[in-house]
């Protein structure tokens, strides 16, 4: 199997690119999710309209087209992006649109009595949100955020189409050079799966930590 070792090196490099892309995309998605999710709950019509437009547009169009738009069309209006930047932008905006609805739903799921306690304690909108509503809502968001993160991880494979050397791209390189399809694609299948498992595990342990004490059993 020695002749494969160089090719595995290639695939591992691809894995690093995929991880980098997934992490940066997730950060952008998280930011967009909170901006748009809270925007949908705003008292101000303009903010609600902006948030709704963003969510509907990025949920309603294909990630593939969004990526091509970012990479091939934006340069035509003078905005030149590297493949990594275009990938992070498309993934973050796309998944952020889905996650925004998660944020909105979770915030709305917190009972009216918690809001009323905030008013009775004179906390004010921002303090109430920051210290009472969002910490409880975040726990509700977490499981679905885990789903979103895994979706984002899997969607990173589309960046191979704009020549970013991620896992999928490297697998294709290996396939072209060796003529073997089974080994490279089986390998990246396993790697994607392991990465997804890591996300699941990470989100679950975060959830456990944050839920500590809430059920009166674990402290």
């Amino acid at each position: 199997m020695t002749q494969w070792s160089g090719y595995f090196g290639l695939i591992l490099q691809g894995a690093l690119v995929t991880i980098e892309l997934a992490l940066m995309g997730s950060v952008l998605a998280l930011i967009m999710a909170f901006l748009a999710g809270m925007g949908r709950l705003s008292r101000f019509f303009v903010l609600r309209a902006l948030a709704t437009a963003y969510i509907e547009f990025f949920r309603g169009t294909s990630i593939f087209v969004q990526l091509f738009f970012a990479y091939f069309v934006l340069p035509l209006v003078g905005l030149e992006l590297t493949p990594l930047q275009a990938g992070v932008l498309a993934l973050g905006l796309n998944v952020g649109a889905y996650a925004a609805e998660v944020v909105r739903g979770a915030v709305q799921s917190i009972g009216r009595e918690q809001h009323e306690a905030c008013i009775a304690l004179n906390l004010g909108r921002w303090h109430g949100l920051r210290h009472v509503i969002l910490p409880q809502a975040f726990l509700v968001m977490l499981p679905t955020f885990g789903n979103n993160a895994i979706e984002l991880l899997k969607a990173t494979s589309v960046v191979s189409l704009i020549s970013l050397a991620d896992l999928t791209f490297q697998a294709q390189v290996v396939r072209a050079q060796t003529g073997n399809t089974m080994v490279p694609f089986a390998t990246i299948l396993v790697i994607y799966f392991i990465l997804a498992l890591l996300i699941s595990w990470g989100v679950r342990s975060l959830e456990r930590r944050m839920a500590r004490g809430l059920d009166g059993v674990r402290v």
Partner: protein, 263 residues
């Protein structure tokens, strides 16, 4: 303000939920340090008036003054304008409320529940807020549970923490909305005992919506009987409970006694 000026003055307020008129031209006055019991059948508007005083519901008409200052209106150049959020925040400093279902923050420990508002709204330093919180928790008999989470507490314990939390902001007026109604019968007394202590040790004005007629009788300086959004009868506890004049009051008390409540 003279010593005899009312601390709460409610003037002809009305409130509807859809087509249902909950309060219909209600007026009442409460004197400083007075202990008031609000009784009456459910849907009579007694909880609504507390919620309005806490600014949890808006009024459709009328005026409310707290310490001579408009609650829902601001005076600007001699005109009364609807209050903005800043005015409401200022007025809320005078008022605290304890809820039927406690409304503790489940993600915060007992002591953090009590210190949160003073630290955020008054800028009290953490150490000072915690010291004060421990004094209050001690007063309600919950000092040994300061580090516990709300989910570990019984209903009576939760309610005592909720009282300490409301007290931490040092309101002049405290509103108690059926604070024992959600409790198992054996837990009612520990909460009522705390109310007795507040009565003895503070000079807060207290408004109490309750179905505990025995407690209302012993505790209150004055009892208001609500029915269909109006105060039908009011007076000293002995007058209301022993010798009600209005037919509706008599009917209500008869039903309550039949249900096994001590009066």
């Amino acid at each position: 303000m003279s010593a005899t000026a009312p601390i709460i003055k409610v003037d002809a307020i009305s409130k509807s939920f859809g087509a249902f008129k909950v309060l219909d031209g209600l007026s009442m006055q409460v004197m400083p340090r007075e202990k008031l019991a609000l009784i009456g059948p459910s849907g009579s508007g007694k909880t609504t008036i507390l919620r309005i005083l806490m600014t949890l519901e808006r009024i459709d008409g009328g005026h409310i003054q707290i310490e001579g200052e408009q609650l829902y209106h601001m005076e600007r150049n001699g005109q009364l304008l609807p209050a903005d959020e800043r005015h409401l925040a200022k007025m809320r400093q005078k008022i605290g409320m304890v809820f039927q279902l406690f409304n503790l923050f489940p993600h915060k420990s007992v002591i953090d529940n009590v210190t949160l508002a003073p630290m955020l709204t008054k800028g009290t330093p953490r150490a000072a807020a915690q010291k004060r919180a421990m004094e209050l928790l001690d007063m309600v008999g919950m000092a040994d549970k300061a580090k516990a989470m709300p989910a570990q507490l019984s209903g009576g314990q939760k309610q005592r923490v909720a009282i300490a939390r409301a007290l931490a902001l040092q309101p002049k007026i405290m509103l108690f909305d059926e604070v024992t109604s959600a409790l198992d019968p054996e837990l009612v007394e520990e909460v009522l005992n705390v109310l007795w202590r507040l009565c003895a040790e503070t000079d807060m004005t207290m408004l109490l919506v309750t179905h505990e007629m025995g407690f209302a009788h012993d505790f209150a300086d004055r009892v208001l009987f609500f029915d269909r959004g109006r105060i039908v009868e009011e007076g000293k506890p002995d007058e209301i409970f022993r010798n009600p004049k209005q037919e509706r009051t008599q009917g209500f008390l008869k039903k309550i006694i039949a249900a096994g409540h001590r009066v």
